[in-house]
């Protein structure tokens, strides 16, 4: 992938500024329709998922009290893995996005939710909701592009250390939650100088992460094993396995969101004074979906609808499926490519990129055309474009 501004053929060259604003207007209309129809059914959905997840976790941990017996170990570990995946993805990620804030239930609210993860909710929300979702796929602004340890774009500078990135990526996948915690702390940057290391804000954040990890470790590797008595060691192994399964799953799903072939990246200067329509367009081009069954959507926390999620991060996840055909139609009408594929294909595509970019660029990807700089301006991404279509248009 090369940033869209440096590509030989520009996939959005055919769009006029008016087209881009019209895309924004159409997307806002889709958003308003769904957001205006949120109701009892949606509330029942998230409460049901939470109740199921808690039941599954409780049941699995109950079975694991007898993990000495291999069948119990297998069933318990499988159940706990699924419970942890649901908790992180369909529940935690989406609640912390504010998708369910509209219910005004303090128990299911982005400001109150804490998840089964090494990174405390507060820090994750900042790096994910604020940085990644605002600056999606902007090289140098969105640290999700390689998490600061990998090169996943031709326009990221190559360094010999990148030769090891397939290995880093594998280790990161296994211990993804700790990788995320380190990433949310911006460890790489904050450990560099003494001044940054001593910054009270950083120290407080570090303390928060240490406390969170401590609690998580104590639960999975001390308290629950101790409750299992003679099954102590087996329960430790079970919980460790469930955590690794969850980590690899989450890592794979997330890699599929922005790394596969067909996903575009952007120059830092290209988002100066970005409009709402331009922001929407960047989300459309910068994300990829995973095709699959209902179970796949649930287990990915509906990140299988990554494109829809990036367009409307605060829309309840159970509604992405219903807007997907409309979004696809929009892509088609404006001559854009809706990137989607089955999980194995998308994971392979993302891994291929990790391997390929471990090596320096070969002549091919050199700069083809000058990058247009936009005049520096404050971005007003919340401001909607005026609708040139008469408001009274009736859709039948």
């Amino acid at each position: 992938m090369t940033t869209i501004q440096r590509k030989k053929s520009n996939p959005i060259a055919h769009l006029t500024p008016e087209d881009i604003e019209q895309i924004g207007i159409e997307l806002d209309a889709i958003r308003d329709e769904v957001m205006g129809s949120r109701g009892e059914k949606d509330a029942a959905y998230i409460r049901r998922v939470i109740a199921w997840q808690r039941g599954l976790e409780l049941g699995s941990r109950g079975v694991l009290l007898f993990s000495l017996f291999p069948p119990a170990w297998l069933v318990g570990t499988a159940g706990l893995s699924v419970a942890k995946i649901l908790e992180n993805m369909e529940i935690g990620h989406n609640i912390m996005h504010g998708q369910w804030d509209w219910m005004r239930d303090p128990k299911i609210h982005s400001t109150k939710w804490e998840w089964d993860h090494a990174s405390p909710a507060e820090q994750w929300k900042h790096s994910h909701n604020e940085l990644h979702h605002t600056y999606t796929n902007v090289v140098g602004r969105d640290n999700d592009l390689g998490y600061g340890i990998m090169r996943v774009d031709e326009d990221q500078k190559w360094h010999p250390a990148h030769l090891g990135q397939p290995f880093y990526n594998f280790v990161n996948a296994c211990f993804f939650e700790y990788g995320i915690a380190a990433y949310d702390l911006e460890l790489g940057k904050n450990l560099q100088t003494k001044e940054r290391r001593r910054d009270p804000k950083f120290r407080a954040a570090l303390k928060g992460v240490r406390r969170k990890i401590g609690k998580q470790m104590l639960k999975d590797y001390v308290v629950h094993p101790a409750l299992s008595g003679p099954s102590f060691l087996h329960t430790i192994a079970a919980n460790f396995t469930a955590n690794v399964v969850r980590n690899i799953w989450a890592h794979s799903v997330i890699m599929c969101g922005h790394f596969p072939n067909g996903v575009e990246t952007f120059e830092k200067t290209s988002i100066e004074g970005e409009t709402r329509g331009e922001w929407y367009l960047r989300q459309m081009l910068g994300s990829a979906n995973i095709s699959g069954s209902k179970a796949m959507h649930l287990m990915t926390g509906n990140l299988s609808h990554q494109i829809e999620h990036h367009l409307f991060p605060d829309m309840p996840s159970n509604r992405y499926k219903e807007i997907a055909p409309k979004i696809q139609d929009l892509f088609q009408r404006y001559g854009l490519s809706y990137t989607s594929g089955p999980l194995p294909k998308q994971v392979a595509s993302a891994w291929y990129k990790v391997f390929r970019l471990a090596l320096p660029n070969r002549g091919e990807a050199a700069v083809r055309r000058p990058v247009e700089k936009k005049a520096p301006a404050v971005a007003n991404r919340w401001r909607r474009a005026e609708n040139p279509v008469p408001a009274a248009t009736v859709h039948q």
Binding site: W102, H133, V223
Partner: protein, 356 residues
């Protein structure tokens, strides 16, 4: 006792280690929602229709409920179409009932989201949320020798709570009640029975036939008007008239009023925004996000994406109305509410108070 408490606290902390990151109560709430003293809830035990537009709900409050005083109200949180809405209702039962139940009587207001929902859809077994009872509209202690209650419509509810709790301690009680028709009188049969038994003097006014009660009418109906301790509850215009009438006679200290709707929140464009913690007051025009207005006025605000997607800027709206600048959705908070709003895409739609 202290030892047991310490042991219990310790044991609870161990259980918390098992359930982290959620708390044990999150699991227990599923089985025993009334057990949680930190989140006050109540179960609806019975629903009794009063008139064709009103119903009495018998509530069994959970742990953590403190007994109310006659005349006080309770804020009730109900999920209507998936959204938790809070409204205040006067408690109509005497305090400390043997069975621990309380009753509220809800009048379905035209267009009223919560009242209509409760009157039409409340069923036995449903769970609602509660706040502790509150309100200054209370019966004086010692009880007044001569009492007057002036009510209209659902304004009878707090008075009914007072009569049911303390009528036996009062010997001279006059109730002047207005309602559209005789059938529309909430608690009509109970009030008429009390009157027939000589316990109260009841003056019913049916406004559809006889028109609205004027304060001057009261002078005729109750000659010793200003000798009495008076409590009034009803529409704001009626209370305004009564307050003027009592003030004109220099008897303000003998009249207590209860307003169900403190001031109608007019949702316009812009307004005065008060930040309750910093005390800063900002004038806004309704087209600029609250976040921008506040920052221009030097208020330190939490912020993030500035486009409504990251929820870093969320602050509680304590009172007033704000409008979502993207789709025009209005969010209204009454006194006592605390509704989190995204300041980066919300503008004031009238005077409002933001906690920051």
């Amino acid at each position: 006792m202290a030892v047991i408490r310490t042991l219990r606290g310790g044991a609870w902390r161990v259980v918390e280690l098992i359930t982290t990151p959620v708390v044990p109560a999150d699991y227990l709430d599923v089985i025993a929602p009334l057990r949680n003293a930190r989140v006050l809830r109540a179960k609806i035990d019975a629903v009794r229709p009063e008139t064709d537009r009103s119903a009495t709900l018998v509530l069994r409050p959970g742990r953590g409920w403190v007994p109310h005083e006659p005349g006080q109200y309770v804020r009730v949180g109900v999920d209507v179409d998936g959204v938790r809405q809070w409204r205040s209702y006067s408690i109509t039962s005497p305090p400390a009932r043997a069975d621990g139940r309380i009753t509220i009587t809800v009048n379905a207001v035209t267009g009223g989201l919560v009242s209509t929902h409760l009157v039409r859809r409340a069923r036995r077994g449903m769970i609602v949320h509660l706040d502790p009872p509150t309100g200054e509209f209370r019966l004086s202690d010692p009880r007044p020798a001569k009492a007057l209650f002036v009510t209209a419509g659902s304004g009878i509810t707090p008075v009914m709570g007072m009569l049911r709790s303390a009528l036996h301690e009062m010997s001279d009680v006059v109730v002047v009640h207005s309602a559209g028709t005789a059938d529309a009188v909430v608690f009509g049969s109970e009030l008429r029975a009390l009157a027939a038994a000589g316990r109260i003097r009841l003056i019913e006014r049916h406004t559809r036939a006889d028109g609205r009660l004027k304060p001057a009418d009261l002078d005729e109906l109750v000659p010793d008007l200003f000798d009495r301790q008076a409590w009034a509850c009803g529409p704001n215009e009626m209370l305004d008239d009564l307050e003027t009438h009592w003030a004109d006679s220099g008897a303000t200290d003998r009249l207590r009023t209860e307003r169900f709707r403190p001031a109608l929140i007019s949702a316009g464009g812009g307004g005065t925004v008060t930040f309750t913690q910093s005390g800063t007051v900002v004038e806004t025009d309704g087209s600029e996000p609250l976040l921008d207005s506040a920052e221009s006025a030097g208020v330190l605000m939490p912020s993030g994406c500035r486009m409504g997607i990251c929820f870093s800027c969320v602050l509680p709206l304590r009172e007033g109305a704000v409008r979502d600048l993207r789709d025009g959705t209005l969010t209204v908070a009454e006194a006592g509410d605390s509704i989190p709003v995204q300041t980066c895409i919300s503008a004031a739609a009238g005077p409002c108070k933001i906690e920051n």
